[in-house]
């Protein structure tokens, strides 16, 4: 059981230049599994993830973790839609978060090599990470996020613009991490992926959590007209 969760979110809101990006949001994030965040473009999916992770500062409201804030920050990770590669080798990208966590280089090398092999980049270990393909970059970003064993992982559309094979590999890594107890919150536009992975669905609309239900229930019959329209592929505001 994670010492990080539950996360209690009360009246949380993020504004930017007077415009509300997300909120007010009230939710509790607990337990295991994989939550999928869906919604139309500009609904606030990325802002919600960044707000929960703490990259985006709250304009109002509060987030409270089961542990202290400093420990909460250490126990979570984020994978961005466009993976940011450190200008280092593949192996050094994997060593980096472990060094940040306080390991020596000698301690960090074995798990870094292990993850390199797990994501199929063993042969590319000494290559600059910026020279990898899009799919390889995203796998490396995911491995870099998981290598320190976070309790909670946020992913912002990690498979956007990836081909089927890369998407399948990413999903396999995610499912393995979820099976080991990492709580995952991920946004996606791909409804097929949402159906494959989700334990629960958060439907975001106009910066609010419009509907939050179990995945089976949501895909069998959403509770709101907007969610039904979204699933049908209609354009909604």
């Amino acid at each position: 059981m994670s010492v990080l969760l539950p996360l209690e979110v009360r009246g949380a809101m993020v504004r930017h230049r007077g415009k509300v990006l997300i909120g007010p949001v009230d939710l509790t994030l607990a337990g295991d599994g994989l939550s999928i965040v869906i919604g139309p473009n500009g609904a606030g999916k990325t802002s919600l993830l960044k707000m929960l992770h703490g990259i985006q500062r709250l304009s109002r409201g509060e987030l409270s973790w089961a542990c202290g804030l400093e420990e909460a920050r250490r126990r979570q990770a984020f994978v961005f839609q466009t993976p940011v590669m450190l200008r280092r080798t593949v192996l050094e990208n994997l060593i980096y978060p472990l060094r940040i966590a306080g390991m020596t280089r000698a301690q960090a090398r074995p798990p870094a090599h292990d993850w390199c092999a797990r994501i199929g980049l063993e042969a590319a270990a000494t290559r600059p990470a910026t020279m990898l393909s899009g799919g390889e970059r995203q796998k490396l970003a995911l491995a870099r996020a998981l290598i320190a064993g976070p309790d909670l992982l946020f992913l912002d559309e990690p498979c956007a613009s990836l081909d089927g094979r890369a998407t399948r590999e990413i999903e396999a890594i995610l499912l393995a991490a979820a099976a080991k107890g990492t709580r995952i919150v991920m946004s996606t536009h791909d409804m097929g992926q949402a159906r494959r992975l989700a334990d629960e669905v958060l439907f975001i609309l106009n910066g609010q959590v419009h509907e939050r239900v179990g995945a089976e229930g949501f895909f069998a019959g959403p509770g709101t007209a907007e969610a039904r329209a979204f699933l049908k592929g209609d354009i909604i505001d």
Binding site: I55, A77, V84, L86, R87, R88, Y96, I100, P128, M131
Partner: protein, 234 residues
């Protein structure tokens, strides 16, 4: 023969003959500028990284001032350092006036804003790229600065080389602070100024060619040592 041709010939003779005076002056030029560059880089590079990652009051004013100081007139710097180091000045007791150490101080003041400004521009772009990732990884400010300095090292090398170029070709400040004393503070640029004043244009030109060759050699050597042009590396 034209003066330029004679200059080439002089430079060739001085280099091939390993003229002892030329070697002494060239080594002193290198010593003063490389020492000043090392000190300036130790000050300017972390300063540039700090300016990139940290938000504080008057940050924009600080950056604008630093950019403006890139054009600091060396003669004015030389004059200020001269006043500081002269016997009646606040640092007069150190006895650094008309010594290579005094020349190094003047060059550090000239080089720091240039290296810091160029480095800041590179690190600012790198920070924009890394910002969310490093925040997300819960890095400390020290770790962010160290990461930027390491990952941006190629661009920082260029900034330092610009500082070297400014230092090695500088004459106004070191002439005032060093005094162009033979066998003590004479460097290539002050020797060129002296020979030009005496009317020895061919010798002055020859020393000029040696200076250019030295600057290019140091740049090439640093690029080669850091392997900046090798494919697949940074």
């Amino acid at each position: 023969m034209s003066e330029i041709g004679e200059g080439f010939l002089h430079a060739f003779r001085l280099i091939v003959g390993l003229d002892p005076e030329l070697v002494e002056i060239a080594l002193r030029s290198l010593f003063v500028t490389l020492t000043a560059l090392l000190i300036a880089s130790v000050i300017a590079l972390p300063m540039a990284a700090l300016l990139a990652v940290r938000r504080f009051p008057f940050r924009r004013v600080t950056i604008a001032t630093l950019n403006a100081l890139m054009g600091l007139p060396p003669v004015v710097v030389g004059l200020l350092v001269y006043i500081l180091l002269s016997r009646g000045g606040p640092l007069g007791v150190l006895g650094l006036l008309f010594t290579p150490a005094g020349m190094i101080i003047a060059q550090v003041i000239i080089i720091v804003p240039l290296v810091a400004s160029i480095a800041h521009q590179s690190l600012r772009d790198l920070w924009a790229e890394y910002h969310d990732l490093l925040i997300s990884m819960n890095t400390t400010q020290g770790q962010r600065i160290a990461t930027l300095l390491w990952d941006g090292r190629r661009a920082l090398l260029t900034a330092s080389l610009a500082g070297f170029g400014r230092g090695i070709g500088e004459v106004g400040a070191i002439m005032i602070v060093g005094g162009n004393i033979d066998h003590v503070t004479r460097v290539l640029t002050t020797a060129i100024a002296l020979e030009t004043g005496k009317g020895n244009l061919a010798l002055a030109l020859g020393l000029g060619f040696v200076l250019i060759a030295l600057a290019i050699s140091v740049n090439l050597a640093i690029h080669w040592l850091s392997r900046t042009e090798r494919g697949g590396r940074w």
